[in-house]
Symmetry: D3
Subunit: 244 residues, 6 copies
Amino acid sequence: MSRIDGRTPEQLRPVTIERGWSKHAEGSVLVSFGDTRVLCTASVTEGVPRWRKGSGEGWVTAEYAMLPRSTNTRGDRESVKGRIGGRTHEISRLIGRSLRAVIDYKALGENTIVLDCDVLQADGGTRTAAITGAYVALADAVEWAQQKKLIKAKAQPLTGAVSAVSVGIVDGVPLLDLCYEEDVRAETDMNVVCTGDGRFVEVQGTAEGVPFDRTELNALLDLAVTGAAQLDGIQRAALAVERG
Amino acid sequence: MSRIDGRTPEQLRPVTIERGWSKHAEGSVLVSFGDTRVLCTASVTEGVPRWRKGSGEGWVTAEYAMLPRSTNTRGDRESVKGRIGGRTHEISRLIGRSLRAVIDYKALGENTIVLDCDVLQADGGTRTAAITGAYVALADAVEWAQQKKLIKAKAQPLTGAVSAVSVGIVDGVPLLDLCYEEDVRAETDMNVVCTGDGRFVEVQGTAEGVPFDRTELNALLDLAVTGAAQLDGIQRAALAVERG
Amino acid sequence: MSRIDGRTPEQLRPVTIERGWSKHAEGSVLVSFGDTRVLCTASVTEGVPRWRKGSGEGWVTAEYAMLPRSTNTRGDRESVKGRIGGRTHEISRLIGRSLRAVIDYKALGENTIVLDCDVLQADGGTRTAAITGAYVALADAVEWAQQKKLIKAKAQPLTGAVSAVSVGIVDGVPLLDLCYEEDVRAETDMNVVCTGDGRFVEVQGTAEGVPFDRTELNALLDLAVTGAAQLDGIQRAALAVERG
Amino acid sequence: MSRIDGRTPEQLRPVTIERGWSKHAEGSVLVSFGDTRVLCTASVTEGVPRWRKGSGEGWVTAEYAMLPRSTNTRGDRESVKGRIGGRTHEISRLIGRSLRAVIDYKALGENTIVLDCDVLQADGGTRTAAITGAYVALADAVEWAQQKKLIKAKAQPLTGAVSAVSVGIVDGVPLLDLCYEEDVRAETDMNVVCTGDGRFVEVQGTAEGVPFDRTELNALLDLAVTGAAQLDGIQRAALAVERG
Amino acid sequence: MSRIDGRTPEQLRPVTIERGWSKHAEGSVLVSFGDTRVLCTASVTEGVPRWRKGSGEGWVTAEYAMLPRSTNTRGDRESVKGRIGGRTHEISRLIGRSLRAVIDYKALGENTIVLDCDVLQADGGTRTAAITGAYVALADAVEWAQQKKLIKAKAQPLTGAVSAVSVGIVDGVPLLDLCYEEDVRAETDMNVVCTGDGRFVEVQGTAEGVPFDRTELNALLDLAVTGAAQLDGIQRAALAVERG
Amino acid sequence: MSRIDGRTPEQLRPVTIERGWSKHAEGSVLVSFGDTRVLCTASVTEGVPRWRKGSGEGWVTAEYAMLPRSTNTRGDRESVKGRIGGRTHEISRLIGRSLRAVIDYKALGENTIVLDCDVLQADGGTRTAAITGAYVALADAVEWAQQKKLIKAKAQPLTGAVSAVSVGIVDGVPLLDLCYEEDVRAETDMNVVCTGDGRFVEVQGTAEGVPFDRTELNALLDLAVTGAAQLDGIQRAALAVERG
């Protein structure tokens, strides 16, 4: 039994990572997970927020947003509403935490890197695509900072790679990398953030309909780990290419 | 080796649930997990938000907040800042989702129940205390609505119980129900929301320091399940008493 | 002819002052005027707002708020609305002015004390309960600051005590300390803030229905002064006890 | 001993009331209390706020604001700050309550009158000038509504006149109608709103420095009543003239 | 064929400029273009915004706003709405740019002048009246700063004069200085800001109905230039008088 | 003498219009003017804003925004700041007016089309690129609405085409379509919006440094008209292709 887009349950959507998408940002990636497209830019600035000054340590943070018509029906702009919604806040925080998990603040020195993840087109999995793409933009930004000598020689601020994937149970079947239609129908939905060596950074599982048991949880975690391994390979391949 | 407050790793803090704390609310609970104290009130109103009108289904939502001096240093009021912070948004949403997991919207009918969880004193685990207490307030509010005939005879909007507990790894040891000092030191921090019959509603694990592996994740889940079972018993005991 | 709760016209509701309610705050009081319950915390910080720096003088300010379900019907949170209402502003300013009336800024030195008065349950007279309780929390905070040597030896920042009580005319009869139902029915409503020695700090009288004349005004002031004297005694008794 | 501007203690500043200042508003007055100048406009609209619909009763409300350079140093615009300050809220509410004290809602019918009081130049007493001027604008607006048949024939929405004046104790001497310099130096400051027949609508006394006693309070009230009587005469004279 | 108010197509409305309107501001003008009345105040402060510090250069900026009942129907206050509307922003920026066009920042030195333009009564052309009046207030403020020695001896911050006028095509006829009724009916509407020597600072033409061609554009520009020349004369005459 | 990017003064940058960029929107275009890239989406909804209901007429509006790192240095998000800046407001309004100039509201019927113009990369001329691209997205959305029968058979809501281009004087030379570096250096900067038949919809000229005279103005207008004619051709060519 195949999925709506013909995939097998344990198959990712086509994932592409286009580096150097923006001429201004120190790192920039247009990442696609199927029809989900997120523009991730990394901005490096010298100095850190006030509460961190003098610590000798850097900071990495992230902001996530959706363009108003990235979705099937147009959403009001948060700038027009004058406030950021809960979901936006939650995802921005998740992306920031995920990237900080592979950052050595000392090695980064008192520099700040902001990752902006703007969803140009949404079809499920925008937060996982954002994390996966933002890591690559971050890696490029770190390299830029090294070349500009903002970071001490031999210091290596990145302690590993990080990527994310969604998994869920639809009609009783655990599926990898849900598209929007699957996401809507999922009984359980989980986002898993893994390091390149297969350990967990974040595990967020939610019962959308009925609560889930330990067996289901284990099946989802197994699936997520295989997805993360594939994403790690795709990130490595993207970063192996000379930057455009 | 014992914990800072003398507990064993798998021991909850003293948990108390004081029902009928407020004379105005349809359900109200002052819940304590050790020094963490949260006032949970349930407000029932006839009718539902616009997007749900005419569906015949009810709605349950939650708002979480901290009093400015519930913490060790005073925090600015979000009303004064004019905006709600990301953490507040995130926890409000988590509480709402957790309670909705045990609600049968049809049985509730077109009524809305709002759970307000206000932290009077914080010492770690405010969100898990909030969920655990809010469930009891919700149960009282549902009973009130049944007595007021807002809910159809024989309709049972509650499909089960729900409680939450934190677990984390501190100095390599998995601990149940972290107090603030443990929470700060935890390498991995996880909040687990369970139904009364031991299934999962939410699993949110975060690597604060180093990423965690599957073995650690399993140990934490095991611990959480035992804590949830105890909390379920405490909730049952509280609800068994005639309401004040 | 007795009142709705059996009191005589010149009788206060039962007033309780529970010190040391919070483990974090430098001063904290749960004050009750009948069913009205307000949590007052005093937070001491070194330093003063920018406009006062270098003056050698301290500052005392207050913030008042109501929990959403402290009232009979739930009110929207001001943090969610993104703005503070006029009533909240007005009462916060009143509390701040009232407490500053008994503060010697020079003796306080460049320290700031913020009084947070959060209404947990409202039944009329929340602002007068808040002022009466906040004074006790302030006294505890001042003592704490003295012990911590934030305040110079022998300096006495408190120049007196302060308390507040409402009075009003209901069905032509002047009443002391109105509960909610009386407050709603009052033709004239007055809040009076007095020092411990019976002088006035604030007098705010409002004709809710018909304007009032000088005779009525005098009767209300007489009543308020007797109430304030009783509250002063209750505050003294509370402060006479060794702090918990 | 005379005052800074040569007045005797019980003397008002020159008060002028210029009706019909604006060509658009249903009532408009430029009122001056010495150098304090406030533009008061009354806007009549059919219908009432939602919470009052179907009651057959009208509504009167007020908004007060200061132009940024109405004061000696420029203040930031509240529109630019994105929020209304406590003082503005407090005065707007005071003006609204004062005017509503002389309104018969039934006679007004389901019409709303909004009084905008914008301070063009401030020199103390802006709220008392605003109330005094707004009453005249309100009277003109009511007459306009009568002519337009928005109000039933013979219905008389105004039940009396209302004016306001400040009093205060400066260097131990009770003074009427404080200018800015006196206001700053006052030990006690009181705003009194009276009806045309000399009864009280609002009495707001504040000890700026030392608390005040009953004798001082009585002296201030006596002074305020004489001032209000004079203002009532000035309002009558202004309204006796055919509207421009 | 004459216009609604009897003017010829190339005739301005009566323009008056009343200097020294406010006792507090360093420059203040009540300007009228017919029934349009705008209060323009200029506030001088030492120092410049952060981004300009240490440059040795000054700054001039402007804020425009309308009183709620300056128009035929009352508009909500932007302070109450909590946000500034697009039109307000646009006009504030236009006024600021127009005045900066005749400012020599170096000669001004590190001083800031803020022009507040508050529309007391609107009848079309509020932005052009504001610019024309604000220039005169600015000239007075500059002179004040020279007398106070805030500006170096012999430094002349003003490099010329600036005024503004609207032009538009109504029923196919180009008209100068549109009143509100003409503005509403105009097919094309243009605001032109000119220096005293007849050059352009801003040209903003908008097709309200059908697009306009080059011939129409030229006719409007011709008309605007003649209007600007007259306004320059009126400004000179106003400034020639000794300040009140 | 050639320009920074080798163009002649009267030469446009390479302009590309990629239709059907988004799978969700009824019309979507990625437009490039050199390195300036703007994503324009058109969202069609049945119904109109409240103030237009029952008129039988439609509405077209626009919102412009820049991604935080579309520029050389990262700008704070307006959603995070909680307010929309003046420049954003101004450009959104300009785009809306420009598109409405070629819309027949009656033919559109009671439908609303919102154009979102999000700048992905900025290099000068973002507003002109936005208008030029948004017209094409609008044309596609209108066609979609015709196919969906939201618009009456034979009704033609588009009365013409519209495009926009910037012109400016740099070092005394009038240049067409300024890139960012030229824009910064321009003495005069003008944005011109033209219909496909060469008439003007908007003309906005600003003296950035010294005021400009009529001769310069004429030279800029001449240049703009030739640029608009070329853009009209590019739009026609893009729309001639079958939609992807």
